[in-house]
């Protein structure tokens, strides 16, 4: 077993006094795939936002790569990226969207963005110049994933990435996510209601309810 990339201890999160997350202990080894499942409102998305350093818990400790970590360390958000349930595309071309995060990092080689588009099954020659408004829901989701894969993140967090998608788009997204682990050793945390998929690909699957982990095999 690899050393934990994330270690969470006694982590609690509340919104307006309502408990959203209450985790005693969670370790996520590097290069592993963690699956999270559970009903809506069970705390999965809250956990992902904490893992993505988008919000800090009200109590408890989060360590990343052996060091205490949180939202103040904005450099960590360059290693960790989250694909939300309904990702937003910028009002620009497909290539502009996929290359956006790269440009933030000073990288202007379009080949990286085009390779990411290939990973999600969107041929760059057909999609690069297409406008954001000319995409189907499944294509938009794949473009959003490509924008994150292009960054070659150390951690890729996916929040119900295949919800309401057609079969082909869902399969492409699943394949691309796994390819990230195989290609550069990304650590994956997958939130999904697709339990058969999670149990097939994940090293470990946790079921959550009311902010707590029900099963911790």
């Amino acid at each position: 077993m690899n050393a934990p990339l994330y270690s969470l201890r006694q982590v609690r999160q509340e919104y307006h006094g309502r408990l959203a997350l209450d985790l005693d202990e969670l370790d996520v080894p590097e290069r592993s795939i963690l699956g999270l499942t559970g009903h809506n409102g069970s705390g999965k998305s809250t956990l992902l936002r904490i893992l993505a350093f988008l919000e800090d818990p009200v109590s408890g400790s989060v360590t990343y790569n052996g060091r205490p970590a949180g939202t103040r360390d904005s450099a960590l958000r360059r290693e960790v990226t989250l694909l939300t349930q309904e990702p937003y595309l910028l009002k620009r071309s497909v290539l502009g969207n996929v290359a956006y995060g790269l440009r933030l990092r000073g990288e202007r080689d379009p080949a990286l963005a085009e390779a990411a588009l290939d990973m999600v099954g969107l041929a760059p020659e057909n999609f690069s110049l297409r406008s954001w408004r000319d995409l189907s829901g499944g294509e938009a989701q794949r473009v959003a994933l490509a924008a994150r894969l292009a960054l070659r993140p150390r951690v890729l967090l996916l929040d119900e990435p295949t919800n309401n998608l057609d079969r082909e788009s869902a399969d492409r997204i699943k394949d691309a996510a796994l390819a990230a682990r195989d290609a550069w050793g990304a650590t994956l945390v997958l939130v999904s209601h697709d339990l058969p998929w999670l149990t097939t690909v994940a090293d470990r699957v946790l079921t959550m309810a009311d902010g707590r982990v029900l099963r911790h095999p």
């Binding site: 988008l54 694909l83 309904e86 937003y88 910028l90």
Partner: protein, 231 residues
Amino acid sequence: MDYLIQGIVQAFTLIFSGDPETFSAVWATLASSGLAMVVILALGLPLGFVLGHADFPGRGAARTLVDTMLSLPTVVVGLLVYALLTRRGPLGDWDLLFSIPGISMGLAILGLPVVMALTATAVEGLDRRLGLTLRTLGATPGQILATTLWEARFSLALAAVAAFGRVATEVGIAMMVGGNIKWQTRTITTAIALETNKGQFALGMALGVILLGIALLVNLAVAGLKRLARE
């Protein structure tokens, strides 16, 4: 009635013959408005972003204040800037009274609330997922500001055009702060007022036609930008 028709004919003659007095006033208008717009956009866009995006104590009061300033009477602004720039005023040493930069200062005060209010509204109207998405892609606060303003670019251009329409067509500030000095600070609006008082309808109408042309262009731009912003 004849003098009106004669005035219109003479107006177009002045315009198409390139009458220096007419175009001096046009230049003064464009120079003072253009300089003011630089200041208005440099301050109004970031301040409007903060007003529409950030959550800080007193935000509601600040928004109410900015909205109230949308209906600032131009003569009140003119009076305020005059008081600041006059020899006895706190900024008297700047020697800006009766100058184009002096007029621009007043116009900037007039146009700033327009850009701030419309920018805040545009930012508030953006998809709430935008900020989260930018953070998940590793954007810094400065990059979030720049990208957010770019996402709202058509609405912001609309704000700029609306502010330009307000500052280019006002008369109170240009009259009080500029002093209506021929060849120097006489703008389109102050020239119209003066020439009409003198009974010189032709020049007044020529300038009026140009002002209407500017207003038409502004409104066409507003209509086009509104359509783009909705898409």
